[in-house]
Homo-oligomer: 145 residues x 2
DNA sequence: TCGACATAATTCATATATGAACTATATTAA
DNA sequence: TTAATATAGTTCATATATGAATTATGTCGA
């Protein structure tokens, strides 16, 4: 009567969510330690990282690319603006939209942080072969469609 | 002078953290919708899920298995206790430790939620072949050592 | 052109994450 | 045995996540 056969239940730790969380739990502290040196949180860095490539974009697009929920973005952007790293500008074409742009200070931060982030990335990259990376990316994409 | 060659910088969206976040972002809402029906958050469910398999464990062990930070656990456990799903008991052997145990109500909840969680898991499982699952698990483990 | 509906951003209430500090208890070395 | 140190759990301050509601603006069809 709806009872679950424990033998058919995957062990908690081998469930897909927990495997993904465990990987993140292992790799993110190193990133966060780095961001901390520049007085940035992980989420703040994500926003800057996107703007460095694609400046002057709407909040909605920023939310989509960074995966940061819109309500969270409000506060995160507030704090980045307070640090004089970026600015809000209401769009002229569509008054509902708000464009986010880097300040000079926000742009300059890239040169400071990016090299170390790249170094972390390189060390991660070295843990798998090219074939393994392609395989991992392909498999992960099967869920994020 | 420390400038980053943009061609060597992996696109933000293809970085390992973002690929992992994107997979989670895609699969977790379905779980959360389910938990919501039973007035549970994702984190609250994680704790119950562990206790259903291994009851009466310390907060430290619960933190380790669920990956929930100890400071967060305090409040999460408070709310589960308030809902009469589990109890705290200070350990006799080591007075520093606190043992967490399910109440009858907490135990009974398993029969209600677990089948639907298993159903979600089965649908996820169907997206990959057995070989692909093994491959994915092996690759993810390379980071969570 | 007006009213129904849609969209972008924000606000709100509540829950959780993060890192530092703290309390109580346990352990260890001199 | 006692002082130094370690550990388990908690508290604190701040930042972020989640889902619902709200405000301002746009769009579309009768």
């Amino acid at each position: 009567m709806n009872y679950v056969d424990i033998n058919e239940v995957p062990a908690f730790s081998t469930s897909l969510p927990m495997q993904l969380y465990r990987a993140l739990d292992a790799i993110m502290p190193e990133y966060r330690n780095l961001f901390y040196k520049y007085d940035l949180t992980e989420q703040q860095w994500r926003i800057l990282r996107v703007l460095w490539t694609e400046n002057n974009i709407t909040v909605a697009r920023l939310s989509k690319i960074t995966l940061l929920p819109a309500p969270s973005l409000v506060g995160i952007l507030d704090r980045l603006i307070k640090k004089n790293l970026l600015v809000r500008n209401r769009s002229e074409k569509d008054r509902r939209q708000v464009q986010i742009s880097l300040t000079t200070k926000g742009q300059e931060l890239q040169q400071l942080v990016a090299p170390s982030v790249l170094a972390i990335h390189s060390r991660l990259k070295a843990r798998l072969s090219n074939e393994e990376w392609q395989s991992l990316e392909r498999l992960l994409q099967k869920f994020s469609v």
